[in-house]
């Protein structure tokens, strides 16, 4: 395993304040603390070159885990080792080789043009001139940054900025890329572009990518594997397809036909029907779609078939429900 997380735990101790002056004074004399188990004994591994989708509802502990994986926050207990390096203990050595995008924050210097931020990063990461020029040109082309380079960051729109952020995180050609909600607030077109870009990056440079998002299409498009956490605990680790087949047992099947002689006998429930089409809710564990189609094909002339899958958002909703999140 390239990245190895073992029993990782982080608790936040936060001061609790009750309303009112008396309570304020009480809190000052003897502060009350509450402990939040933000990350609770989590273990998983990531292979080199993998894209891992890291999902869970708000407050699940995703960002906290990412912060520990980036080496910027110390775990309370447990370990996290990335290619033999301990991110927190050897922070300076480690971070030279990772790229990070926190969707909610900006890593570009607010007052200066984008290109100057890039130049500064070049100096910080000690990127050799030739390599820098090459990588920079690639990023400019792929992310379409040509017109943005001379603009001060504060004047960029969110989507424009996000493209620049991604470039900034990749100038030094890191082995690992952490993306914490990179598509937040982007329009449909920008999202598609961003996903294409990430896919290509992973394919061409074999960059290991850890991605958190609330947009399940991101996960569907990008991640071969997902880790689901809730309330700090690891709930699932495996392929997206498995989640799908587990939480999406029902699909809707629509058959459009001509000359139906007599309706065939099927186990699944018919939701709608008229003399041209029928809509069936199929529990794929009990009856396969193909067998239903086959039955219908015997008694009529099928013109068209539509299968409606439960969308991924609903599947995740089902899953969160089952885990009582």
């Amino acid at each position: 395993m390239y990245i190895n997380v073992q029993n990782l735990t982080k608790h936040f101790k936060i001061k609790v304040r009750d309303k009112g002056l008396v309570n304020a004074i009480k809190a000052f004399v003897k502060p009350k603390y509450r402990t939040i188990k933000a990350v609770d004994n989590i273990s998983f591994g990531i292979e080199k070159g993998e894209i891992l989708g890291f999902i869970g509802p708000n407050g699940a502990g995703k960002s906290t885990t990412i912060k520990m994986l980036c080496g910027i926050m110390q775990p309370d207990s447990g370990t996290c080792v990335v290619g033999n390096i301990n991110p927190f203990k050897n922070r300076k050595e480690y971070v030279a080789n990772i790229g990070v995008v926190f969707g909610q924050k900006s890593q570009l210097w607010w007052d200066i043009p984008v290109i100057e931020s890039f130049e500064l990063l070049k100096a910080i990461y000690k990127i050799p001139e030739e390599k820098y020029e090459k990588t920079k040109q690639q990023l400019i082309t792929k992310l379409n940054l040509q017109d943005l380079l001379d603009v001060p960051v504060r004047q960029l729109s969110l989507g424009q900025r996000m493209r620049c952020e991604l470039a900034a995180a990749l100038l030094h050609d890191p082995d690992i890329l952490f993306l914490d909600e990179p598509t937040i607030g982007l329009d449909a077109v920008s999202k598609v572009q961003l996903r294409e870009f990430i896919k290509e990056l992973n394919k061409e440079k074999k960059t290991t990518i850890i991605l958190t998002t609330h947009d399940m299409t991101d996960i569907e498009e990008l991640a071969s594997r997902v880790v689901v956490i809730g309330k700090g605990k690891l709930l699932y680790d495996g392929s997206l397809n498995k989640i799908k087949s587990k939480f999406q047992s029902t699909k809707k099947l629509e058959i459009i036909f001509k000359n139906l002689k007599a309706a065939p006998k099927i186990e699944s429930k018919i939701i709608e029907k008229d003399n041209k089409k029928v809509l069936i809710e199929v529990d794929t564990k009990k009856e396969s779609i193909s067998s239903i189609i086959e039955k219908y094909s015997r008694v009529c002339q099928i013109e068209d078939v539509n299968i409606h899958e439960n969308n991924i958002d609903n599947i995740i909703l089902e899953m969160y429900k089952e885990y009582e999140l």
């Binding site: 910027i72 300076k92 909610q104 924050k105 100096a123 910080i124």
Partner: protein, 267 residues
């Protein structure tokens, strides 16, 4: 090293863009300078001969202080560091392969240098040519001037090191307002900002000497005007170096400890 130098340049250059703020600052500083000079003049007129500092030296002190205010005042704070801790943007500083202490140090000192570059020229140029006794005098000697520059440089390092300590403490409290205010109020008195050290009661002066604040501005200004002889300057220069080393050491330790404890905000 290249990264640090580039960053220094970047902060300096972007600081030099704030010209409007500088013009406003220059006006206020002229106003304060004159106000203080007139108050002292009235005060001196009543006290006769036995003043702890000659009037010309005092005027020179005041103009130097106003001209170099953005370099030597403890109260000038880089808000952006406190803000980045509060909103968690500091995460991006921690994912870079540099030493955060040096980074912040550069940020603070380059910001101060940019501000003082924009302001001091006009103030010095104008006040040098004001009619006596309201003018900034020339340095007492060439030697004193060189010593003054050296002392001022070390003073800038001291104040920067203090600023970084204030920012590092903010890592624990997520807001440096509380701690900063306490330090500012102390510094105001101990640094000669409210009253030049020689005008303070002896006992207070003695307390001041224990702390590093007077070495930031008060000491170089008095070397310039000859209130402290250049020969004594050397002794205090040693003290300045001691404080620079001590404060950097303390600051680096605090920041290192803070980085272990800190909860990075947001996400």
């Amino acid at each position: 090293m290249k990264g640090y130098i580039s960053y220094f340049k970047t902060v300096l250059l972007s600081g030099l863009q704030y010209k409007t703020a500088a013009i406003a600052g220059i006006c206020t500083q002229f106003f304060w300078g004159f106000l203080q000079i007139f108050i002292y003049q009235a005060f001196y007129a009543g006290t006769g001969q036995n003043t702890p500092m000659d009037f010309e030296k005092l005027v020179t002190y005041i103009w130097l202080q106003q001209a170099l205010l953005t370099l030597v005042f403890v109260r000038i704070r880089d808000e952006s560091i406190a803000k980045s801790i509060k909103n968690g943007t500091v995460a991006y500083e921690l994912v870079r392969p540099y030493n955060l202490y040096i980074w912040w140090f550069i940020k603070c000192i380059a910001g101060r240098l940019a501000a003082v570059t924009l302001r001091s020229g006009v103030l010095v140029a104008v006040t040098l040519f004001l009619p006596a006794p309201y003018n900034l005098s020339l340095p007492i000697s060439f030697g004193a001037f060189i010593m003054f520059l050296l002392n001022l440089f070390l003073g800038a390092l001291i104040v920067t090191a203090i600023m970084v300590i204030i920012h590092s403490i903010a890592f624990f409290t997520y807001d440096d307002k509380g701690i900063a205010t306490v330090i500012y109020n102390f510094a105001e008195i101990l640094s000669g900002t409210s009253l030049p050290l020689p005008l303070l009661p002896t006992i207070v002066q003695n307390i001041c000497l224990i702390f590093p604040f007077w070495l930031i501005g008060d000491f170089p200004f008095r070397i310039y005007s000859g209130d402290i002889p250049v020969t004594d300057g050397l002794k205090y220069l040693g003290l300045q170096i001691f404080w620079v080393v001590a404060l950097i050491f303390i600051g680096a330790k605090i920041l290192k400890y803070a980085m272990k404890k800190v909860y990075i905000q947001g996400g």
